[in-house]
Symmetry: C2
């Protein structure tokens, strides 16, 4: 894409009303726009990143048999009363609204209830189970405070998968599958090294749930990370002292600040029993369906990636979620330089390499500063000097030094 056509402009100064680094950098880079506290719109660069994150998550869910659907945001009061989750005294983050006939509706903060009701049409026998469904859909949570940019939103995208199984055994088998799928997803998103499977409270349904916590100095959570394997952690909420790590047997832990980027949860039969989702087993006996839920917030992931990969100059996107793979900068405007840069742009596009081509009529200094701020992983500069030497100046955003490469070497770097 030609950068002159991209309508967003970068900002030099941090917005005054943002306290989080992710919102600061994403706003300055033109990725998002803050509509109100905790409510962000995604501008083209941000939407490109979000789409890539969504697709990585989607592929992970499809791979374990997830069927994608898309539920409504508006929620039926009567349904939520059946599980005792309508009252504001019990769930204190509802946004509620009124239909014209004065009846109340809610804006979904999660979707166990409507999905359990839908499944009543489709599950009647053990032969119908198991079923795994997911969506990537907007959730609304009326948070009192929302100061963490994309990390805690009042409106945000969520991937939520729900499992419907015959019994605990089948549910546990899928739970392990989902855990492994999550590990792979966070690896692909670039967060693998800093994301730990974390024991957390299981609520009333089972002893533990599992969170995926990413180490982050400004995170809202606190975990104890096993100093041995550095893979498993325990959420501070359920910390009971230094027990043996189930992964490596070690029993020394380090306290870390972190952010919860995903969670997986056994729900038992709470929702199926309240809403009446039963099936007939092999012996013709009526049994409640055993459920689980599995969440990842793509916007929160985006904020976490930004806080994890940035420096004083801007964002450093991992290749897998970068808005473009290559940032091509032309410095100078003589005919030969232009020809050379234009040709490279065309060749990159032709090869299907996503490239943002900064051919704007602005200073070299601004181009370099914008490139560092926007954080595309591979930067290629074409200038009078590089043309003379029949080379291209190549630099990775996460490396300090640039190198001069000829065409073949360059394309080898860009694969």
């Amino acid at each position: 894409m030609l950068q002159s056509k991209l309508f967003t402009k970068t900002k030099r100064e941090a917005p005054k009303d943002e306290m989080s680094k992710n919102a600061e950098l994403l706003t300055r880079g033109g990725f998002v726009y803050k509509e109100m506290a905790g409510v962000y719109s995604y501008l083209p660069l941000g939407y490109r990143v979000l789409t890539k994150i969504n697709n990585i998550i989607r592929e992970g869910m499809d791979a374990i048999g997830g069927q994608e659907l898309f539920l409504s945001a508006l929620q039926d009061k009567n349904l939520w009363e059946q599980t005792n989750r309508w009252s504001d005294d019990i769930v204190d983050i509802w946004f509620k609204t009124k239909l014209k006939n004065n009846s109340e509706a809610g804006l979904g903060f999660t979707h166990e209830e409507p999905l359990t009701r839908i499944m009543k049409d489709h599950i009647s026998s053990y032969k119908d189970l198991p079923i795994f469904v997911y969506q990537i859909q907007t959730k609304f949570r009326n948070e009192i405070r929302a100061r963490s940019g994309l990390i805690r939103g009042r409106e945000f995208l969520m991937k939520d998968l729900y499992s419907f199984c015959k019994d605990k055994k089948e549910q546990e088998k899928f739970y392990e599958k989902a855990k492994n799928a999550y590990t792979k997803i966070f690896e692909r998103l670039g967060l693998g090294d800093k994301t730990y499977i974390t024991f957390a409270s299981g609520g009333s349904f089972s002893k533990y749930s599992h969170e995926f916590q990413t180490e982050m100095p400004d995170g809202e959570d606190e975990i104890y990370l096993c100093s041995g394997c550095k893979k498993v952690a325990v959420n501070k909420d359920i910390w009971e002292g230094q027990k043996k790590c189930p992964e490596c047997g070690n029993s020394s832990y380090t306290e870390k600040k972190s952010v919860e980027v995903g969670n997986i949860f056994n729900l038992g039969t709470k929702f199926s029993e309240s809403i009446g989702l039963f099936y007939k087993d092999k012996n013709g006996e009526q049994r409640p369906v055993v459920m689980g839920s599995y969440g990842i917030g793509p916007g929160r992931v985006m904020g976490t990636i930004v806080e994890t990969f940035c420096d004083e100059k801007g964002i450093i996107w991992p290749e897998s979620v970068a808005p473009f793979s290559v940032h091509l900068l032309i410095i100078g405007d003589d005919k030969k330089t232009k020809e050379n840069a234009n040709n490279l742009y065309k060749e990159l596009e032709k090869k299907g390499i996503e490239v943002l081509y900064d051919e704007r009529d602005v200073s070299a200094g601004q181009k370099f500063a914008d490139s560092d701020l926007i954080g595309i992983p591979n930067r290629v500069v074409v200038s009078e000097k590089t043309v003379k030497e029949n080379k291209f100046e190549f630099k990775k955003r996460n490396e300090d030094k640039s190198v001069l490469l000829d065409r073949d070497e360059l394309f080898k770097k860009l694969r």
Copy 2:
């Protein structure tokens, strides 16, 4: 996909609370679930169709230079007060809600206001214009009645594009481009033959706007269609008698019931002046940006397609938006038949042809009935009989007779 894995089941009987044919068939086929009047969730088959419709629209918008973004649903009261569209006396379809601090927020029914405000950060000079942006995003409209299934929703997806231009001339040029893009989109969606460019009220901004109206017996709108070219129509709201058709000069018209599947609208400077979106022209003079808006509702399109293409047995999807291209049915369960059907399934998948394979343990009658209801355009039957003859039974959903084809002939039909 194996149909035994698809969790949705069809229903023989029409739901009692649906008055529209689209909702009836889509519910019976397991495409959608009604959460409340005017609020539908999309189940896997429905979500597949919706995604295809979205992608056809998306390609059309990208082709005319649209940049995709994704705005929030929650809306800032202060902003909408600037254009005098906050009051329920003026806009009577708002859903409103409250933040924890008791301040009000709305749920967006359209997005001129927030987008105009965003553009203030990015437009300052004539060099920044024109800009075209769009999104495919959920809208909320608090309709008094919502009895038309997917055609009039309280919550629904909308593709809304907005243009920002220097002056009327630039705006009109894009307006024509958008009109042509819309024509192509409705052709690709299968609705081309029955969709007419319709003169409608321009509101306070310009004499006319243009609607894309699809002929439909149960439609809520009425249009006068030119009997000459059968391309241009006039909305009954602005009908002033039989003037000459601008396309063919004819002046006889036929009254038709129809549904508005798209509209394009000159907005003039109403929003830019109210919200303060100005730019400096070549002479350094401050001018308001000239805007336009361009909508298509993907869910409404889906409902319209269903009502347009169906018979007493079910839906007849156009190839371009069908949930799958091929419905493969196995009738019988002897080893050879199974082998033959499984091999065909594998070969279709390998060739990237989207296939739903009905290998369920249900009667032949149910398989045929479900296939007609779900409406996949190409049906292939493998049975003991076809295997004996070394053929496949092929039938298009919109044709009456099936034919026996050998493998090569079959793949020619399926391209």
